[in-house]
């Protein structure tokens, strides 16, 4: 009994010592706390993991360079596991307990939609890394919310522009039944009339499906000139494989969700000839030197690969890169005042990022145009810039 009491006292003393040691830095160097909520594990981990890595990498670099006007940055990063409820709890913790000045993330659209309700109320700047246009629209209800990822809307615009240019007017859709696919399909249908596209077939598949030959067989009997597939993860690669098995001769157009080296690896031979919109990061080496994003992409890719050996650089990490860079810029101008940070973010002009050139306005909290995407074609296992 007595030894347990002594042990408890010792632990307490140790705690006090650690606590005072943490406080000993003095007022001039009070750290800025930046929150992060990413889907680091769970089904969307391919998004959250590079985002977390990127944010940690940048914070480390900023602190090594002396912080922001002498203030070190402190990143508090939580994992929402792709779960909306957890994302919400983490956001509340960041606001009330951790004292964050701004939050980066979440990685996925449903979580972002939930978190922004809280951050809007708490008047906390939020820079989401998720895709849906609804995160920053309508802008009057998204006063405190920004995002760095290109929207589906832009990807669809690029795809339809490409189709029009190449004389394709009849397309069949095959989309995943998750939020990503539903949002993409809605955009594909909504923009079709504008570009004179006729949707001759619509098929869906589940995220974990492993055989899409029935859907594709149905499409094969339609007068489509191209198939547009909207999905992420292994499923779109299987669509490519199944199309090859069924002997399709019309081109397959994938979404930006397939713009990763992993996709090429999974699709194998079946990947050849696939056309898709991609962020410039995927093909930065092929960009003309006049493109301002070339240097930024190269810098990010080099640093990321040097730090996380063997990990391929992904456009998802790029979303966190741009968010963190713009936030750093805002903190530098505004200090820790949240309202001033928000105003500074809204005033970002001509920030050349990994995901595009950002021009924020009070009416546009994403700040990108369809030019953020390039069209690429997979040739012999590599992305080739075609448009």
């Amino acid at each position: 009994m007595r030894s347990r009491a002594i042990a408890a006292i010792l632990v307490f003393l140790l705690g006090v010592m650690l606590f005072t040691a943490g406080c000993a830095k003095g007022p001039g160097t009070e750290p800025y706390v930046v929150g992060g909520i990413f889907s680091i594990t769970g089904p969307a981990s391919y998004l959250g993991e590079p985002e977390r890595n990127t944010m940690e990498m940048l914070v480390e670099a900023i602190n090594a360079a002396g912080g922001i006007k002498g203030h070190p940055l402190k990143a508090v990063i939580y994992d929402d596991e792709g779960d909306v409820t957890k994302a919400r709890l983490h956001a509340e913790k960041l606001i009330t307990k951790d004292g964050a000045v701004a939050i980066i993330g979440p990685s996925i659209t449903p979580a972002s939609m939930t978190v922004l309700e809280i951050t809007q109320k708490a008047q906390m700047p939020l820079i989401s890394c998720a895709a849906a246009a609804g995160i920053t629209m309508p802008v009057k209800d998204r006063f405190w919310t920004f995002k760095t990822a290109q929207t589906d809307q832009m990807a669809v615009e690029r795809i339809y522009q490409y189709c029009k240019k190449n004389g394709i007017s009849k397309v069949a859709l095959i989309t995943v039944s998750s939020a990503f696919g539903v949002a993409g399909k809605a955009q594909l249908l909504a923009q079709a009339p504008q570009y004179g596209m006729e949707i001759v077939g619509q098929e869906v598949f589940a995220d974990k499906d492993t055989d899409m030959t029935p859907q594709l067989t149905k499409i094969r009997s339609l007068p489509a000139q191209a198939v547009i597939c909207w999905g992420v993860g292994p499923a779109p690669a299987l669509v490519a494989k199944n199309m090859k098995q069924l002997g399709f001769t019309i081109p397959l157009i994938q979404s930006h969700g397939a713009a990763s080296q992993k996709f090429i690896e999974l699709a194998g031979d079946a990947g050849d000839g696939i056309i898709l919109p991609a962020g410039k990061l995927a093909v930065f080496a092929q960009l003309p030197d006049t493109d301002p994003q070339k240097a930024v992409c190269k810098e990010y890719a080099d640093k990321y690969q040097a730090k996380f050996k063997g990990a391929p650089v992904s456009s998802f990490g790029g979303y966190a890169y741009d968010a963190m860079k713009m936030l750093t810029q805002a903190l530098d101008q505004a200090g820790k005042d949240k309202a001033k940070i928000r105003t500074a973010l809204e005033g970002v002009k001509n920030y050349v990022g990994v995901s595009g050139v950002f021009n924020m306005t009070p009416a546009d909290h994403n700040g990108l145009t369809p030019a953020a995407f390039v069209m690429v074609k997979i040739e012999k296992g590599h992305f080739k810039l075609i448009d």
Binding site: T217, K218, K244, G247
Partner: protein, 288 residues
């Protein structure tokens, strides 16, 4: 309705059905010896695929990867029975079944840590040049899946009906006490059944990996569909399990092709519910 399309739906359905059938056979084997349902069966499929992929990366030979994967997972099955199920103080069926559910979650978690969350590809056994068959196409790998299912089914039936060990195993399920009285070591039979079904699951996983890719969470859905197939077929009959799997696969494929692709997964579970309501003993009543 185009004939070629219909044929294509059938081929796709039969291949998927054969996969479900192989998983269903794993359920049937363990049910034969223990009257419990091993909900970790789907994860054995995943482990088989992942182990084979890893072995192939180190030593690129398909036979070695196949046999190595099956051997490793068989070992996992034996250890699982030994360490998680055998020491249970109150071995009632429901307790053991819940343990297998926990085991499944555990295997999936470990796989996520070992292999990460990425998908991996695995080469086809004999090329990827599709055959043409009356306007429909099928891959050599589809034939491998169908062929192995047929071979396994016949071998299992022969084992359970003709060999002493197989008969002893069935005896354990019908009447454990009587089996013990005539000198059958029930513990050994249970262990054998877990080894067999784990190895079978692994073989199924390796076989489908070229078609479906290997990823840490591939086992859950396959396991559930296999379970539906086993229930549909009546749980205690190998033929029933295979028949259930094939019916399920073709029904899914036809539903996708002819009705709407959104209903695909609903079909399996709808069939499961209908069977449980109307004919809980399954299509083929076991124990004959």
């Amino acid at each position: 309705m185009e004939l070629a399309s219909l044929l294509q739906y059938l081929i796709s359905g039969l291949t998927n059905g054969a996969i479900y059938a192989l998983v269903a056979l794993g359920f049937v084997i363990i049910y034969h010896a223990t009257t419990i349902i091993n909900f970790a069966q789907g994860e054995m499929v995943m482990l088989g695929a992942m182990c084979a992929i890893s072995i192939y990366q180190v030593y690129p030979s398909l036979p070695v990867a196949f046999l190595g994967g099956v051997a490793l997972v068989t070992l996992v099955g034996i250890l699982f029975e030994r360490l998680a199920l055998r020491p249970v103080k109150d071995p009632s069926a429901i307790v053991l079944i819940i343990i297998t559910v926990g085991g499944g979650v555990f295997f999936k978690g470990v796989a996520m840590l070992l292999w990460g969350k990425e998908a991996y590809s695995f080469p086809s056994f004999s090329g990827e040049t599709p055959f043409h068959l009356g306007g429909a196409t099928l891959l050599p790998q589809n034939l491998w899946v169908l062929g192995l299912t047929a071979v396994v089914l016949l071998a299992l039936e022969a084992f359970f009906r003709l060999t002493l060990v197989g008969k002893a195993m069935r005896a354990c399920a019908y009447n454990p006490r009587a089996a013990r009285l005539v000198g059958i070591s029930q513990g050994r039979m249970v262990q054998l059944s877990f080894a067999l079904s784990a190895g079978l699951g692994a073989a199924a996983g390796i076989l489908i990996a070229p078609l479906t890719l290997g990823v840490y969470d591939m086992g859950t859905m396959v396991g559930l569909k296999g379970f539906c197939a086993a229930i549909l077929g009546g749980l205690s009959s190998s033929f029933g399990g295979v028949l259930g799997g094939l019916i399920l696969g073709v029904a899914e494929s036809l539903a996708t092709g002819l009705i709407s692709s959104g209903y695909r997964d609903a079909v399996a579970f709808f069939i499961l519910l209908v069977v449980l309501f109307l004919r809980p003993q399954g299509l083929i009543k076991g124990g004959s």
